[in-house]
Symmetry: C2
Subunit: 216 residues, 2 copies
């Protein structure tokens, strides 16, 4: 199987490169997930909890996107899951070209799920297709109920929304049903999973949905 060429043409658009990525990724991964959130909503912790549940039965790999540091990829590698770090410097999102380069450098074996963890940003990543099959948003319920309306593009394009940190609801005074309603108003087709990575509540529902998408 041929690796995606590193020789890129600067005139090609992000969507053209994303289409190439998708063609290649579908040859090596049953499912590629673009995992997005604001900083600190818990993307990497969601990945850790997802790995704990899926790793016994599925082959997983992770591409990590961060402005700086390899903290996140080190956390994933600690679980024995292959991880590749993209450091974007000052760029506030991953784009298809960065992912194409990462795919070329990452010795990606056949996997069931490839997770691409985007830069923590609830705005810009939504505008860049990477070649993923599904977009999953992690949202911290502590960040308030009105954000789906204030950051509509990110929520509008999501296949699933994980409402994380529900263990803090009693202390943060969040109306979960109002938040859920706001997500649904922006995107009626998104699957919504209230979860707590701390207590484990709801994580099984999310991983069950995910395994159905793998088609196993």
């Amino acid at each position: 199987m041929e690796r995606v060429s590193l020789l890129t043409d600067v005139r090609r658009t992000n969507d053209e490169i994303a289409a190439e990525n998708q063609a290649f990724l579908r040859s090596v991964a049953k499912l590629t997930i673009n995992l997005m959130s604001a900083p600190g909503a818990g993307k990497t912790t969601v990945l850790e909890k997802t790995i704990l549940r899926l790793a016994p039965r599925y082959r997983l790999a992770v591409i990590e996107g961060d402005l700086q540091t390899s903290i996140d990829s080190e956390r994933i590698l600690a679980f024995g899951v292959p991880a590749h770090q993209i450091t974007t410097g000052t760029v506030c999102h991953l784009d298809a070209r960065m992912v194409q380069k990462a795919i070329a450098e990452f010795p990606l074996e056949r996997v069931d799920v490839l997770f691409i963890e985007n830069v923590g940003n609830l705005v810009c990543p939504a505008e860049f297709n990477l070649g993923e099959d599904l977009r999953v948003i992690v949202y911290s319920v502590v960040d308030g109920v009105e954000k789906p309306k204030k950051y509509p593009l990110m929520f509008h394009k999501a296949d699933a929304v994980l409402l994380n940190k529900i263990d803090l609801i009693p202390y943060a005074g969040v109306e979960l049903e109002e938040l859920r309603k706001n997500v649904t108003e922006v995107n009626p087709r998104a699957a919504i999973f209230p979860i707590s990575c701390r207590s484990g509540e709801g994580v099984g529902g999310w991983t069950q949905w995910l395994t159905q998408r793998i088609g196993a």
Copy 2:
């Protein structure tokens, strides 16, 4: 006093326009604050609590930046403080040109403090001077201790960092001192205020620092 002209020259850089903004703003406001954070860290709530403490003694005004909705400016107007909404559409940050246009449209009387609440984003807003005197970051402690290292530019340029939601520390398992250390490593000169807008803890320290900056 002449308002800033709406006729802008597209060739001018953001920094050139920011310098014009600053010259004008210093003629009408003793202090202009660029208030930045990730989505949901609590910028607008910090503004509300700050208004409650300062409004009896100081003249305040607010420019609100959001992708969509006027939720935030309506919250400020409810306190009787003049507020002007900039809706950026899909643009992930305020820039000097947007603020210049807002200044021209906003019947800004002489004030002690003008707050400019930026779009919720811990990356891009840091790159755009608006003409402010001070940059203040609101950071939700629930978002984890390592973010100052992962989003260094935002923290590096801050004059003050408000570590918000400290009332959730016992439930979220956050090491406040480690977070403080990480902020200081990225930016030793930033004033750091752990606060809770919920309980009011620490808010007085922040507003005291602010009133010293007004020079009242």
